[in-house]
Symmetry: C2
Subunit: 178 residues, 2 copies
């Protein structure tokens, strides 16, 4: 069975970026000597699914950030618009979250890293997220792009563990109750 | 010097109550055998400041919940509208957060527990909060009354400690950086 997994950082008031996409507040509070577990997390991931916004913010970053195949949910982008060096590394689909996961399951994909606020929200609403690792950055931004959005019903979580880092980051892992 | 202190629980998506004020989701995830530190916190508090909404939700609860004098920020309520048994325990003021704290300081009050979403937000915006103990409840509500609100500038925090409880609650203490 394919499963969706979240690994993301937010401000204490729940924003993953400022309205304009800026994450400088996050980068300057990150201590690169601390291991926040991303490398171990990504080792066990088969595919990364992200939205158009996340793709646009990462598209021109070199070296290319992702060590796993990336699938971008976009109704308008196609492989023809890919930079040459991303051919084969990035694909696009206009499928729904549910149909995307069904397609990935048919391809033998097991663990999918779901990234970006709106995509995480739509996957949560569709019941496609198994667990979330959320790292809290010690700042209040007051406004920005929210990690979470509206839901048609509560989602109960099971807390698995929490760890505080010397940098002030606090990382919690939650399983979605089924 | 008088200082403001927050001690509050929120859903993982940052809500302190549903839109209608319901906190059943919180109560049912609370384990009364766990010590979440409220009793120790309140021992060192001289005065509780809350908004009209919090007062209205607690006004009819008996036995009266608060073991410290309560000051309600309200432009319309006066002591004449108090139930008899709350006379002397609850007072009202229509002062601003800044003027309220100046008044309390002149009265020799040192540590103020600031409670309720909108009051916490206005005290944060006015720079009147020294530290916050935030307990995360493992649920996503999708909508409700937010703990945090908009800010005119970032508020940097210093993480002091975090503790996870068997119930799934996770409690973090932050100092507001000055």
């Amino acid at each position: 069975m394919v499963s969706g997994h979240v690994f993301i950082a937010t401000s204490l008031d729940g924003f993953i970026a400022r309205e304009d996409g800026d994450i400088g507040w996050l980068v300057e509070r990150d201590d690169p000597t601390e291991d926040h577990g991303y490398d171990a997390f990504i080792l066990d991931i088969d595919m990364i699914v992200m939205g158009r916004g996340t793709y646009d913010s990462m598209r021109d970053v070199r070296p290319w950030h992702y060590t796993r195949p990336v699938l971008v949910l976009s109704a308008s982008l196609t492989d023809e618009q890919l930079p040459d060096d991303l051919l084969g590394k990035v694909h696009f689909t206009n499928k729904s979250p549910q149909d995307t996961m069904a397609m990935l399951e048919a391809q033998g994909i097991r663990r999918v890293y779901v990234d970006g606020g709106r995509v995480i929200q739509s996957f949560l609403r569709a019941g496609l997220i198994s667990d979330m690792v959320i790292t809290r950055v010690p700042i209040l931004l007051g406004q920005g792009r929210s990690l979470f959005g509206t839901l048609s019903s509560d989602i109960s979580l099971i807390h698995e563990h929490t760890r505080g880092y010397t940098s002030g980051l606090v990382q919690s892992r939650y399983r979605v109750a089924t």
